[in-house]
Subunit: 191 residues, 4 copies
DNA sequence: GATGAATGAGCGTTCATTCAT
DNA sequence: CATGAATGAACGCTCATTCAT
């Protein structure tokens, strides 16, 4: 097994356990066991548990951006771009429910709180493109003239909530329903 | 100090500590100290920590409903009723940021997960009235014909997100902004 | 068992183990076991291992002073006073070899080093009386006019070395030999 | 780098780290790093950490003897020989404070204790010559008729104590003071 | 021979829970 | 009833040692 494989196994194991059981259900020894690795080995790759988790978060963020931007074009209308991003966003989490669960655990946790302090805005990987979209929309009077955080709340709030509901099995978002849902989100932000 | 006072002190102390520091920053001994009560005493009122926290949650839910329903009238239009509930909802959390922080801690935690498993729908205290509102709105073709969880996501998602942003100081929701924000939520759910 | 007994048991156990095996041979779990106490219990009495050990040291220091001063009188000649203190000092450690071993462990250890930084001089409990003796002796031209630390080295160096030798069984210091030895120390410091 | 160089690098690195930080501040990995050698390499030269440290000790002992004997002549008087050895001894440690610090760390440590058990007498490198000096002095009635360990205590006790004080900066031993100090030691052992 | 990644026993410490008082 | 001292399992982390390369 190569060194890189080991790192990846650790990341995978940590992600799974945290997604399944939360941080309190993912002690280092259990992560090591699931990764089929000695307990001390984790510390060759991550200085401590906090940094392992922060690393996990950064990993997920980075992986997400290109997926969301795939097929995204500034030549489309604002509405089309919004629908594209919203759909990508939700599809991504439906396809990777573990990632979603992890991010939820992370956000409301001492780990996430410290991390968020640095970023304030620009949260939720790939937000920059959302921010640009909103700013352009406000300027062109297509989107409501509300502060950015409020627009983010109107867009991400429902997206995250519905992704959670789908993952927990409270709704099944087929293609039609997803489209109608994201159009509803657009209704919230558009003028 | 009456038995009831003691219980209340415990609840208050636990709420404060969890809201301020998260679950990891609220060990039983610290809760007992803040409540000016022996550590063992907590166990007279709550079988264990999980049930203390679940009890806390139930408490908050119950306290919230009458506040939200204050001034609520079935004689108002659906839109007016939605705006009323949304405004009450957000005002309540702005007035009680500790409650909000606690609920956020609770939702993504082993405690909350177990609890949610029981309730599936009907979550977020005072939802019944929201559910009735949505069902009536769908039936009367005023609200989009989407599954209830999706409508909940469209309404609560932004409400919770914006409440968090306000509490963390990312936006300041004055009366005007709050009204415009909740109208935007209505735009999301209305036909 | 009273609370005080428990504290004492912990102190005794820690002292024994450290004296017998050094710091590395006295993990908290072993101290707890020897004290017939839960591992967590130690932490009710001592914030952490460092403070347990510093506490132990302070304890020993305090216990020693009155023993050394018993029968000490400023009306005796300088020589008699020196012999008295030297004899008491060495007798004390011969009677309490565990204390001696502990102090030796302590002095050259991260624990002791930090502690010594604060005190620089005035080390080895009951030194003040030695210092006064030396200062008076220098002033009255009975003792060599050397810096205090050098006089301390001339007096304590042999005392500690011989105590160690006795405890390890390299010599047996009977009363006669002890007297002759301390007289030899006096020969070193006197004019 | 030759095999012998490697061994020497390891010894040097270990000595430095232990002298600077004590045993607890010198893990094998850190020694390897400072010696610019793989962690496993150390084990080609030393069976385990205990033996590495015992080897270190033996090294220092061996290096010290010729320095102390430089200029030493059996034709000098006993007093002159004592002063010579004492001066060399103390000068050596003042010139090599790292060696001194290491030896102090070593003496009160599980490593040193085990080692000392083997040697009982003949401790402190270059003791044989001291022993001969003492035995001759006792026989010729120039030195007090005390057991050898007691004479060692009278001589080495102050020497080590004063060397420590100098190295820690509590006194500065210039040539004059050093001479006067060693003469005082001689006063302790001579008849 | 030399390496350094991997190991896992063992460390100091915390904290939910119990129970004698 | 109320207490809080006592408990010990479980945690995050270190490091002497091994062994595949």
């Amino acid at each position: 097994m190569s060194s890189n494989d080991k790192r990846e196994e650790i990341v995978r194991a940590a992600l799974e356990l945290i997604a399944e059981n939360g941080f309190h259900g993912a002690p280092m020894a259990m992560i090591a066991e699931r990764a089929r690795v000695g307990a001390g080995t984790i510390y060759r790759y991550f200085e401590n548990k906090d940094l392992l988790i922060a690393g996990l978060y950064r990993d997920l963020e980075e992986r997400m951006v290109p997926v969301m931007l795939d097929g995204y074009s500034l030549e489309q209308s604002l509405r089309e771009r919004f629908l594209h991003l919203g759909t990508s966003f939700i599809r991504y989490f439906i396809a990777n429910p573990l990632y979603f669960r992890f991010l939820e655990q992370f956000h409301n946790s001492p780990y996430g709180t410290a991390y968020r302090k640095e970023k304030i805005l620009g949260k939720e990987g790939g937000c920059d493109v959302f921010r640009e979209l909103f700013e352009e929309g406000v300027a062109r009077q297509v989107i409501k003239d509300l502060p950015l955080p409020v627009l983010f709340a109107l867009a991400f709030g429902p997206l995250l909530a519905v992704a959670r509901d789908h993952i927990l099995g409270f709704v099944i978002l087929d293609d039609l329903l997803m489209t109608r849902f994201i159009e509803a989100c657009w209704d919230g932000v558009k003028r």
